[in-house]
């Protein structure tokens, strides 16, 4: 069974800083990681491969440095990696991205055999749209299951798959015909650690690198900025929203004095609170 897993290299959001003055995102020096949701997709694909045989191809679209995430995926155990990179792809929104990725999946099918399953994570941590997976499915005419929490069964002979899908109010058990596209939920499995041989292979493997032309994309006007109807109008840091939350100034001293200062200010705003707390502490 040939499985394609679409992954994205994203900035590690845990380490992103917002510039304290301009409120813009400081990307410089922020390490990149594989979109965490994609790792659950990759692990699920590897498990299916281990059970049914076949190959797992990882695919990513991005700048040449996205190579890093592909090597990591190979180090985890993927069999093949394809990097889709071209300046035509720069500035893609979800529409243009799913267009390019769908073409690349087609090309992968032509080159190494039709994939029975295409996996993506449920969404990326830098875009949060959850649109690219369904976009690919629609363009390739694949059955699609989103927010999949587990794969119950794959019947190769009958060409069917049964999954558990998290939905509002419960879990659905759903079956459909292959080929299908699945977007995986987080926490559904535990990503494996590649062996020494895997990571060595990942570090050294020749990656398949395709530009638009090599991926068989003739219509570059559907790619990148030109193929993207989405426009970012403004980026801003949200203001404190909760009605009861107030920002207070504390004098920058030691942690102890800052804490004291804060407590004093809270007491000042809530008359009676101090007495109440004292009474509670005293036990009546």
């Amino acid at each position: 069974m040939h499985i394609v897993v679409c992954i994205k290299q994203v900035p590690d959001s845990a380490q992103i800083r917002v510039h304290p003055v301009t409120n813009t995102i400081m990307r410089q020096g922020v390490p990149t990681i594989i979109n965490p949701y994609d790792l659950f997709a990759l692990e699920e694909a590897l498990r299916l491969r281990d059970t049914f045989g076949g190959e797992v191809t990882v695919l990513t679209m991005g700048p040449p440095m996205a190579e890093e995430s592909l090597r990591k995926a190979l180090g985890i155990g993927a069999d093949r990696a394809v990097l889709l990179t071209d300046r035509f792809f720069a500035g893609s929104d979800t529409l243009a991205t799913s267009f390019a990725l769908a073409q690349a999946v087609r090309k992968i099918g032509e080159t190494w055999g039709e994939p029975k399953l295409v996996f993506t994570g449920k969404q990326t941590i830098d875009g949060d749209t959850a649109q690219v997976g369904p976009g690919i499915a629609r363009r390739l005419g694949l059955q699609q299951f989103t927010y999949v929490a587990g794969i119950q069964d794959v019947n190769e002979a009958a060409g069917t798959i049964t999954v558990l899908r998290r939905a509002e109010g419960g879990v659905q058990e759903l079956s459909t015909q292959l080929p299908a596209l699945i977007t995986m939920l987080e926490g559904t499995n535990e990503i494996r650690r590649g062996s020494i041989a895997d990571v060595l292979r990942g570090a050294r493997a020749e990656l398949v690198t395709w530009n638009a032309q090599a991926a068989g994309i003739a219509d570059v006007t559907s790619c990148g900025l030109r193929g993207s109807p989405t426009v970012v109008k403004r980026v801003f840091a949200p203001k404190t929203r909760a009605a009861k939350a107030t920002q207070v100034e504390v004098k920058d001293r030691t942690p102890e004095t800052i804490a004291e200062d804060l407590i004093d200010q809270i007491y000042a705003r809530q008359p009676g609170l101090e007495d109440d707390l004292m009474r509670m502490a005293a036990g009546y």
Partner: protein, 436 residues
């Protein structure tokens, strides 16, 4: 558990400055090099002030300035003797430091180390991250022939292992190549990154463009413990930190972050970082025991570089340059042995030690070998003297209707009273001896 079939010329453990220097040097010379780093990416576990000394890197990557992530080149050095309310400073600033190839830079290690690692990979080494070397593999004769890792798939073999594993030296310890660290020979330093707009930093420190300022501080800020504080200007942030010998922390019950808070709120320091946003907090051990605390740095199939070899010149606040130089020399030695088809055994790796002795690295380490013991025994150098100097400066500068001769007399009287004439002379002699 099978062995990986292939054999590397060298395995480098660790992707800090010394490991990168060693791996780069060997890979550039055509050796088959595997570098193993436990962190998520090279630099993720590394902490430093941080100052980059250009010369050491230039000897490895001559054109590093073209693409290395550098913050500011240092044009001004301030050395402060501090008491609780004052500092007495020596500042050296020179336009000569605004040269085409500046001598010292402030850097942010997480960024710099990743750049350095990319160069190692370009040179042809294989770099594996998120992989921890757990043990050295030895043959029947006790020669190190490879490493075991925390990944499946058995040991990886190599002709020589470069232990660039950093200050803790756990692998070396486990293999019985070195002793555990002693609390007296290791300092614990903490630092914070304070973010401020570029213009604000430039105004506060009277700098412009890429130039920067470095402050090294000592005195009562360390509460009588052996240690120093520092403040470095980056492009849009200020690195501020303080460190003391571990044994002193245990003795005094002081906490590192307590010291840092005090240092930050000192009237000479607070205005420099006022209004900044703290974004990062880090702590790190620094091997400061000097020459006498060095472990064996080579053996049968292994060499040790950088912090793991205890190569830090605490007096001059130099470490990363000694690390890079030792890594480069280890790499050159191994390349030399490989080319001559000599084995990397105990006898032949002695060449590494020999070359290190001939370089500034061990010459400087030898020069200051008495300083750690000296400071340990003479705590008043970091407490009493800064107070006295501060008091003297204030007496001298305050205009209060007293005759100048009277003031001078007062200063001398204080000195004699606090330390005694004999004490003063003895301190001078002791210091000169240790320094020499």
């Amino acid at each position: 558990m099978g062995t990986i079939e292939e054999r590397f010329d060298a395995i480098v453990v660790g992707a800090g400055p010394s490991g990168n220097a060693a791996a780069y040097t060997m890979a550039k010379n055509g050796l088959k090099v595997l570098q193993i780093e436990r962190g998520e990416y090279p630099g993720s576990k590394n902490v430093q002030g941080a100052i980059l000394y250009a010369d050491a890197l230039e000897r490895i990557i001559p054109d590093f300035r073209e693409d290395a992530p550098l913050e500011r080149h240092v044009v001004e050095q301030r050395i402060w003797m501090m008491d609780d309310t004052s500092h007495t400073g020596m500042h050296y600033r020179s336009d000569d430091f605004n040269e085409e190839k500046p001598n010292r830079y402030t850097i942010i290690r997480a960024q710099f180390d990743r750049w350095f690692s990319s160069k190692v990979r370009e040179a042809g080494a294989i770099v594996l991250c998120e992989t921890t070397v757990t043990e050295l593999l030895k043959d029947r004769n006790g020669k190190v022939i490879g490493v075991l890792t925390d990944r499946h798939g058995g040991p990886v073999l190599a002709d020589v292992v470069v232990l660039a594993e950093g200050v803790n030296g756990l692998i070396g310890q486990r293999a019985g190549l070195r002793e555990e660290l002693h609390p007296r020979t290791v300092a614990l330093a903490v630092k914070e990154m304070h973010f401020l707009p570029q213009e604000v930093i430039e105004q506060r420190f009277n700098i412009s463009g890429d130039s920067g300022v470095v402050i090294e501080a000592m005195g009562t800020i360390t509460k009588g413990m052996t240690g120093t504080g520092f403040l470095y200007t980056n492009r849009e942030s200020i690195s501020i930190g303080i460190g003391c010998v571990i044994e002193d922390f245990t003795r005094t019950g002081q906490t590192p972050y307590g010291l840092l808070d005090k240092f930050k709120s000192h009237p000479s320091v607070a205005p420099l970082i006022a209004g900044a946003e703290v974004k990062e907090y880090a702590a790190h051990l620094i091997p400061e025991g000097g020459y006498k605390a060095m472990p064996s740095i080579y053996g049968n199939g292994w060499v040790v570089t950088g912090d793991a070899a205890h190569l830090v010149n605490a007096v001059h606040r130099e470490g990363s340059n000694l690390a890079m130089t030792s890594g480069r020399i280890a790499g050159e030695t191994i390349t030399y042995l490989k080319r001559r088809r000599e084995p990397c055994d105990f006898d032949h790796l002695g060449e590494y030690r020999k070359r290190l002795e001939e370089s500034f690295v061990l010459k400087d380490m030898r020069k200051y070998q008495k300083i750690p013991d000296f400071l340990h025994g003479q705590r008043h150098f970091l407490d009493l003297y800064p107070r006295l100097i501060s008091k003297a400066a204030q007496t001298w500068l305050r205009v209060d209707g007293k005759a100048k001769r009277e003031k001078e007399g007062e200063i001398m009287k204080t000195l004699r009273k606090q330390r005694g004439l004999a004490g003063l002379v003895a301190d001078g002699v002791r210091f000169a001896r240790a320094w020499r």
